[in-house]
């Protein structure tokens, strides 16, 4: 699949356990739904704040903040990924 078709996902968090969990959930959800994603873990505070997020972990899909301050469910993440992939296709 072409690079520009992949869904861009950013996990915001300076390295707490919950942030790692969100990243793992995104990977699982992407694998299960077979959605091509590029995951970036943003650990720098200035960059985290630049998304308007104060509570970590945050999850950004295609530039849109989807959740902040909580660990979303895998099904929830999968829905966001699928929506973004559909919009790109």
């Amino acid at each position: 699949m072409a690079e520009d078709k992949a869904v861009s996902v950013k996990v915001l968090g300076a390295g707490c356990a919950n942030c790692e969990r969100v990243e793992a959930l995104v990977r699982e959800a992407a694998a299960e739904r077979q959605i091509d994603t590029i995951i970036e873990h943003v650990r720098d505070y200035q960059s985290i704040l630049s998304y308007g997020v104060m509570a970590t972990p945050g999850l950004v899909v295609e530039g849109k903040v989807r959740s902040a301050g909580r660990v979303p469910g895998k099904a929830e993440i999968a829905t966001w990924l699928a929506k973004a992939a559909e919009a790109k296709a």
Binding site: G13, A14, G15, C16, N18, C19, Y45, Q46, I48, L49, S50, Y51, G52, V53, M54, A55, T56, K64, V65, R66, S67, A68, G69, R70, V71, G73, A75
Partner: protein, 347 residues
């Protein structure tokens, strides 16, 4: 694929699950005393008058006696917190004057979801939106100190009076320490880059949580907090049980009693490097009190362990210069010492 979807959509709604959990919870709570006595006396054949019998029965009774209400309260607080996002708190505090701002910040610190790993982004966001430094500190002091775990454990082990006093004095310390830090004009001891940070627009928008979402959020809070806290509860109560069973009465009256003036500051100093949360400290502290330690000394120790923690200072070191951290420790420490003396003098 379609069958999987079907199963997911047929899963019972969280609302239904909560309703089903309540009677189970009540039954467990009601049967607790009888069950723990039965296990210790009949099943294990321990003499209820022997030290081992006392310790085991105490342990079996106290662990669920704390974990059960803890589960319920964390759940309820989780529902409340789903209404208070840090962004909303920040908007409420932005441009607020000192005084009113400190009171609001301390109160919001109790209900806003907070974990020490979010302390730095939260601090940056507050400063960026013009929340005064002292007001920000009122929030950062109250948030970890007055939390549901500490309150439930105090309620279960010490009763409503001590729990209420803890909450009231905890808020008072957060408010006055924040006011003092604000008056001292310490902005120059905040790392320079903090003032360059620009918070992006956007953030979390049009997130409309349904009641199912809120219940799921609260259930996750129960899993998270209980999962983190239960080992502390078990170890704390085990140590407490051992003290109850074996330590002679009044052993501590001389060392931690109310007569020696130096015990309160010593307890606060001892608490700073100790890293534990309320769950681990409170059962031990309760057992110490039963052996003659004074309430003020014990309360001061507890507050120091919870509110002045080294790990949090190390995290905050990234945005604050050491001078400001030193002032923070000195101001909050003094507040805790005063609270300790107050309790020792009046109760």
């Amino acid at each position: 694929m379609s069958t999987v979807r079907l199963i997911i959509s047929r899963r019972p709604a969280p609302l239904f699950g909560t309703a089903a959990a309540i009677p189970l919870w009540l039954a467990a709570y009601v049967l607790l005393a009888a069950a723990s006595a039965w296990i210790a006396r009949d099943l294990l054949g321990l003499d209820p008058a022997s030290p081992l019998g006392v310790a085991v029965e105490f342990f079996l009774y106290d662990v669920p006696k704390i974990l059960l209400p803890l589960t319920a309260v964390i759940f309820v607080v989780g529902i409340v917190r789903s209404f208070f996002t840090p962004e909303r708190t920040r908007a409420l505090l932005g441009g607020r004057r000192e005084g009113v701002g400190n009171v609001m910040a301390a109160s919001l610190g109790v209900v806003t979801p907070f974990c020490s790993c979010s302390a730095v982004p939260l601090f940056l966001g507050f400063v960026e939106s013009g929340v005064p430094l002292g007001v920000t500190f009122s929030f950062l002091i109250a948030a970890p100190m007055v939390n549901e775990v500490a309150v439930v454990m105090l309620l279960e082990l010490f009763g409503p009076r001590v729990a209420g006093l803890y909450v009231a004095t905890g808020l008072l310390i957060a408010i006055t320490a924040g006011l003092a830090i604000g008056r001292l004009r310490l902005e120059r001891f905040v790392a320079e880059w903090v003032y360059q940070v620009r918070m992006g627009q956007g953030g979390l928008q049009d997130e409309c949580l349904t009641w199912d979402d809120r219940i799921r959020y609260a259930a996750q809070a129960v899993r998270d907090i209980l999962g983190r806290v239960w080992p502390y509860v078990v170890v704390g109560i085990a140590v407490g049980a051992a003290i109850h069973g074996w330590m002679p009465e009044d052993l501590l009256a001389g060392v931690m009693g109310r007569d020696a003036w130096w015990t309160v500051p010593a307890a606060v100093l001892l608490g700073i490097p100790m890293y534990s949360n309320a769950a681990g400290v409170i059962p031990v502290v309760q057992a110490l009190m039963a052996k003659g330690a004074a309430l003020g000394t014990v309360l001061a120790f507890m507050m120091s362990v919870i509110a002045l923690s080294l790990p949090e200072m190390i995290i905050l070191r990234r945005v604050l210069k050491w001078q400001l951290i030193a002032v923070f420790v000195a101001v909050v420490g003094t507040g805790i010492v005063l609270v300790g003396y107050l309790f020792n003098a009046t109760i």
